[in-house]
């Protein structure tokens, strides 16, 4: 079996998955920070 070729696909899949997870989690973090900052300004 051609392992190198298979590992490329596996790494591609995990790259996509973990990059997406990091982006999604960061988007929550960014929105939380932004909302807190706005609340700080309002009061």
């Amino acid at each position: 079996m051609d392992y190198a070729y298979q590992w490329n696909w596996v790494m591609f899949g995990y790259g996509v998955a973990y990059a997406a997870l990091v982006v999604f989690a960061s988007s929550i973090a960014v929105r939380v920070t932004r909302a807190r900052r706005r609340l700080g300004e309002e009061t």
Binding site: Q6, V10, G13, Y18, A20, A25, R31, L39, T43
Partner: protein
């Protein structure tokens, strides 16, 4: 409003998410490869948990919507919203990983497999749910409409599911070998269960943060609606009464 904003933003969910992600990764990379699929079977350890979380999230959205309609407590509406957003994310991820897997295993990005079609439809249904939530700033109206949609979406899922399955089975018999067949190795089953469990923990941590965000967004909305402030601010200047002299 004081109840909406916690003094300190909890940090532990981030740590939990990172650990859960790491556990899944290590488990998926150390498990022996599948006899038929080879290394490609490793994609399954993120694909299956993502798909599981998609269903779990939408289930939670439906339950939270129902409790909201019963109790009329906006906290449940926020939970429904948070879960739907996480669900849309994992549905998208499950589809993307399924496509990568499909391309690598049988050489095509998309097959009109019943489950794949259903997942794609589900993705758009909940995208519509999220879009619906953006149409009004009236929190109670938004919560009621979203709750009806959250329940309607789930009621329709079995119908879509069966219609798609019948549509497929009457024409082309399933020609794809399902990798998660019954004859899976025990180590692989355990790894898969580990991955599903850690993704579920990740979901809980994400929910904590996302619900916190929903509370903050509502607090911002309330602050904007009650704090009227100047209508045009700097743009308004006192009329010049000097007659241009």
């Amino acid at each position: 409003m004081a109840t909406l904003v916690q003094k300190k933003s909890p940090v532990w969910p981030w740590i939990v998410m990172a650990i859960a992600g790491l556990v899944t990764f290590v488990a998926a990379m150390t498990v022996p490869p599948d006899a038929v699929q080879g290394q490609l079977s490793r994609i399954m350890y993120v694909h299956v948990p993502s798909a599981w979380l998609a269903y779990l999230s939408f289930g939670v959205t439906m339950i939270a919507s129902g409790i909201y309609l019963w109790k009329r407590d906006l906290e449940w509406d926020r939970r429904a919203h948070a879960s739907a957003e996480i669900g849309v994310f994992f549905t998208g991820l499950a589809i993307a990983l399924g496509m990568i897997w499909g391309k690598s295993t049988w050489g095509t990005w998309w097959t009109w497999d019943a489950r794949l079609t259903l997942t794609a439809i589900m993705f758009f249904v909940y995208l519509g749910y999220l879009a619906l939530r953006r149409t009004t700033d009236d929190m109670d109206a938004r919560a009621k409409r979203a709750a009806v949609m959250g329940i309607l979406a789930i009621v329709q899922i079995p119908l879509v599911h069966f219609s798609v399955i019948w549509w497929q089975t009457l024409h082309q018999p399933p020609s794809i070998i399902k990798p998660e067949g019954p004859d899976m190795d025990t180590v692989m089953v355990l790894t898969l269960l580990t991955a599903v469990a850690s993704f579920t923990v990740m979901y809980i941590a994400m929910m904590v943060k996302r619900v916190e965000l929903a509370r903050l967004e509502d607090a911002v909305l309330i602050a904007e609606q009650t704090n009227t402030g100047p209508a045009a601010g700097e743009a308004v200047v006192a009329p010049d009464l000097s007659g241009g002299a």
